[in-house]
Symmetry: C2
Subunit: 218 residues, 2 copies
DNA sequence: TATTTGTATTAGTTTAATCTAACAAATATA
DNA sequence: TATATTTGTTAGATTAAACTAATACAAATA
């Protein structure tokens, strides 16, 4: 059984490793806001438990076991977010912090029941896929809005950041998952865009925002 | 903000102090399965925080602040148990362990929402009163079944133990809250009873079981 | 009252998870 | 290539929460 702390390290490794599977001590340290020596010693501990493959001065990598256990924590997080939104009436901007705590509850039955009541959802309220009970997660083929071209019409499929502030910003502009968005102009120097969607015929989105929106091309 | 550990000490003090308000280090130590020196040092810490009044070799007592904070943890526990039973379909024998973990979640909104969805319940699935947001709890005037006389007809109002084993035992005999129970005979040497209720015209209940059932006299 | 028994405290150790300071290795730059 | 910068590790300290062993106090009993 992993401690709450260990679960947080595994989760962070999983999320940071999306690209190439490798994570540096420095990255992990910054992401968790924990100093590097602490991270190094935790990596040794997780390596002992066969959850991380660790060699001095080499990049970190989850083992298959580590990846599975991380995915199961993420499963609990995402099921919780979905439950909070669908069954308890929370907004998608309110659920991250609560799920951050509930993901550490040790009770398979509790999460099984959520899954069942939700009808075995495949995605959470932010569009992220929910890993299955064995830790397998279906892979997304979404693009960043920032990688699209002028004239593209795309469907908003997911957001990569789930902080309250960012989601309130999207709420204020009625930007919801599933929306069709048309790209009118792109400012090449800062990556900002002018887009239209729903009743909004002309909204300006900064480059940062465009980076955080994942879309499906038609 | 109290730690999970501190919350568990407060809760234990609250529950043990039901009788006269005083608790010994020894009692608390046994209840929590933590050795006495550890308890002593935690009491000093909680006294520093003005949650417990502590003097060497004197009985322990929660301060008003301590009582309020303990009641709020118990509120979270009982709301959770009610939510698990009423909204998620768990049996009353399954909820204690899960609530034991969820009671430590720090999110007023989460428990407010539960309360609202449940319609502001006053009792949990085991018949225990749910403290209000200010930490006030209505006081029960129930009797133990073991204190009743032959011929009494009583209503089962609450159980004082919530372990899975004990509640499964009650389930197996279809003993549920609200039932009318008639006492047919009492064995004075062991306190066991022969009772009738619902479709059960003659069930034998041990003295221990009778001690754990709280009833309302008609 | 003296002694035994049970209860509580003190002192010192352990483990998990954090930190800072100092040093070492790897990478980037002049 | 030599040096500077960034990244990573080692060593040692700190805090919370637990422990054991030894000691002190309080209550019960002879």
């Amino acid at each position: 059984m992993n401690s709450l702390t260990e679960e947080n390290y595994l989760k962070a490794l999983f999320n940071l490793a999306i690209e190439n599977g490798e994570v540096s001590v420095n990255e992990l340290s910054k992401h968790l806001q924990i100093k590097m020596p602490t991270v190094t010693s935790m990596m040794k501990k997780l390596a002992e438990k066969k959850l991380v493959s660790y060699e001095s001065y080499k990049p970190l990598r989850l083992t298959e076991k580590g990846r599975r256990e991380a995915a199961l924590v993420i499963r609990k997080h995402r099921l919780t977010e979905m439950f909070l939104v669908e069954k308890m009436g929370f907004g998608w901007e309110q659920v991250h912090e609560i799920a951050e705590q509930i993901e550490h509850i040790h009770s398979p039955e509790f999460f099984e029941k959520m899954d069942e009541l939700l009808g075995f959802p495949r995605f959470d309220p932010h569009g992220s896929p929910i890993p299955d009970k064995t830790g397998k997660m279906e892979w997304l083929h979404y693009s960043k809005l920032s990688d699209c071209k002028i004239g593209d019409t795309v469907r908003l499929a997911a957001v990569t950041h789930t902080s309250e502030d960012f989601l309130k910003f999207l709420n204020a502009r009625e930007l919801k998952l599933g929306l069709k968005i048309k790209i009118k102009t792109i400012e090449s120097f800062d990556g900002s865009m002018l887009v239209s969607y729903g009743k909004h015929s002309s909204e300006h989105l900064s480059g940062l925002v465009c980076e955080r929106l994942l879309v499906e091309k038609e």
